[in-house]
Amino acid sequence: MGAVAQPAFRELTDLDKLEAEAVHIIREVAATIERPGLLFSGGKDSVVMLHLAVKAFWPSPVPLPVMHVDTGENFDEVIEFRDRTVERYALRLVVAKVQDDIDAGRVTEDTGPNASRNRLQTVTLLRGIRENQFGAVFGGARRDEEKARAKERVFSFRDEFGQWDPRNQRPELWSLYNGRHRKGENIRVFPLSNWTELDIWTYVLRENIVLPSLYYAHSREVVERDGMLLAVNRFIQPGDGETPFAVSVRFRTIGDATCTGCVESVAATPADVVAEVAAARITERGATRADDRISEAGMEDRKRVGYF
């Protein structure tokens, strides 16, 4: 008695709202921008983004190709995962290789124990966009990852050099997205802008999304370097005074195998990870990405020259 009927309380849950927003953004791009492509690395954010694209166009197949910017310094199983996923959804895969830019002399590789090709990716990414004439490229970046990303638009305009100008961004209001651009310019689109790391994992759990097993706890040989745990592999070898040891770890992010660290963890399932992330006290990039530690403005500087 006394209760007002249910209809007054129609309200989507937070995950349903985030999903609806991402689906809206993905459809908007497909409807308004010629030749969109989707960045796909096999990392969890790009897997979630692809999952959303599949849902957005159901029952049609995803009407756009995926692009992988390949540094050549990958975890083997991530490449296998990438190829399996592409086959499963019958996608067209474009691979832009950093090695090609090195061979052509467009970029020069660093040397030394901490050398990484991560920095070189930007040149390859821009070449991939140019060669495929992508008018829009979907990226899985989220605003909660890093302070420069907190100011990024959902539709982020890039000039003909791929540059981001934080002082001159287009205002973005309501759900009206302005994707207009000239030939040679492009729009980077971030459908996961409003998702947090915890949202990603909660959604992975809810939707039963398959991720590379690196994201779950496994035993691995690591070395500790600059406060981070780095996996010992063909790219990372113990240096002077470093003793490799085996420990149960998982990766919170998966980037280049030369600069992505792992964290000690026993979280073996999505539900374990949700619980772990909910209790985490260090941001995912802070824990595991040497590339952000270059300087206080590391991400901002890389974005200005065309990085995602």
């Binding site: 006394g2 007002v4 849950t13 605003r143 909660d144 907190a150 100011k151 309501w174 206080e296």
Partner: protein, 608 residues
Amino acid sequence: MGSQLLRIATAGSVDDGKSTLIGRLLYDSKAIFEDQLGAVERASVARGHDGPDLALITDGLRAEREQGITIDVAYRYFATPRRKFIIADTPGHVQYTRNMVTGSSTADIALILIDARNGVLEQSRRHAFIAALLGIPHLVLCVNKMDLVGYSAGRFEEIREEFRTFAMKLQVADLTFIPMSALTGDNVVSRSRAMPWYDGNSLLHHLEELHVSSDHNLIDARLPVQYVIRPQQMDFRGYAGTIAGGIFRPGDEVTVLPGGFGTTVTRVWGPGGTRLEEAYTGQSVTVELADDIDVGRGDMICRPKNRPHSGQDIEAMLCWLDAGSTLSSGTTYGILHTTRETRASVKEIEYRLDVNTLHRDQSVSGLSLNEIGRIQLRTQTPLHFDPYRRNRGTGSFILIDEATNNTVAAGMILGPSRPEATIAWHSSAVAREQRLSEGTTLWFTGLSGSGKSSVAMEIERRLVASGRPAYVLDGDNLRHGLNADLAFSPEDRAENVRRVAEVAKLLADAGVVAIVALVSPYRAGRDQARAIHAAAGLPFLEIFMDTPLEVAEARDPKGLYTRARAGEIPDFSGVGAPYEAPLAPDLMLRPADGDVAAMAALVLGRLG
């Protein structure tokens, strides 16, 4: 899983302690990670602060750190076990109206910061005005730095009164005042011990408890078609889009604009092919229709008896966002409205509004960066729109400079502007003050059996006895004639309310006290009635008969509750259909206020 998302816009300058407040919310709700806090502590020490400077948490770009300012809208995320929050952090400097407009466009609630020492400043008024203009339903005035005024209740009261007087000129549905100190944390996350005289909630508690689900328009069914899904070799044609208003169910009769073809919804799909029994505002869906009609992006699916306005002549409030150009009459722009893209030229700039004084300057010929004005547009092809106050989704648009492709303006639609050639407004030769008496509308809303009609009839009797013309527009009576064609669906109720509002307006204009006694269960409908009167410059008092459902049901003068509970009246307000209580009625009458005569006296006291 299953918590709600609340979008917050903040306004105020660095001096008001806005960054500190946001830092405090993130810090105390444990949304700051150790590495971020570590970075802030290092930076704080480097600048000679003792303890972490919470304002540094929200400092983003290098240019901002160097200049100590905030350039642009930044988004912050935090969650409590009850809710997830997105903060659009917008700078409050004079030149940044554009950013606040941007950050406010999707907000559920606005937080406006005031330094208790300085009180209500010009910029506080500007922030409140923009929040109201952008249709943010809830506003909280955060009276900050209470520690610097000795936690004085008197100072808080002064600020509250001053701001309330100003806010009455704006249409703010829900206004809350909280005294706090972001620096010390008083009343931010938990209640302050330093201010025992304050008996309200802490800010975070207020944000967690805020009721927002009735802010969405669930009445006017609107689905702008975004994308047509037609897989090859499959008998499927789906119209995908995000619902901009109302509810869609399989079996609904719908009309597709601009063609105007009628058909039926056969199936409603969620993302990935989840079959839905109903879908509502905010959901991204794909619908299938019974007939093979020509539907494409930019078309609007609605209900046959509840359509948006369709037209090329539109009146709107416009905020100019571009530093590199100005708006001038006669210029053509690209316009993006729902999923429709066309071109529009500005026919007239009626006035520019000074956002600090609300003064209207009719002598202007253009609008430049951060300026707001009322304009008339003509579009190349018709748009299907609703007034912004009724629907933020179908009432908003952006203008795009066709040479630079930049987004140069944000628009909020007021309604169709009628070209003189088709329907002219004939001005009466009698001015309002020449009429024999002064008209007003008294709008009684409340559940069936709450006592609306009884009090309305008593007021009518007393007014007429005193020689003042008055007339009761009773909801039940009107359904015998003027509204005999309407049923009780949300659409028909909306039309019922609109018609009664228009009749009341005419009576009031003629000098009569129009007394409306109508359940009018939806807030949006009552707001529309108020807007109709405001547009005509007529007084309007919303009187809420706040009789609890149990009491009204126990009275059950017409036996309707019994029938509703038996399932005979499915759409009965309060039983099988919602009743949205007013958030800020002009007068509230409760059973404790006395009998019918006592209540009538209370209302007449307000009438003057």
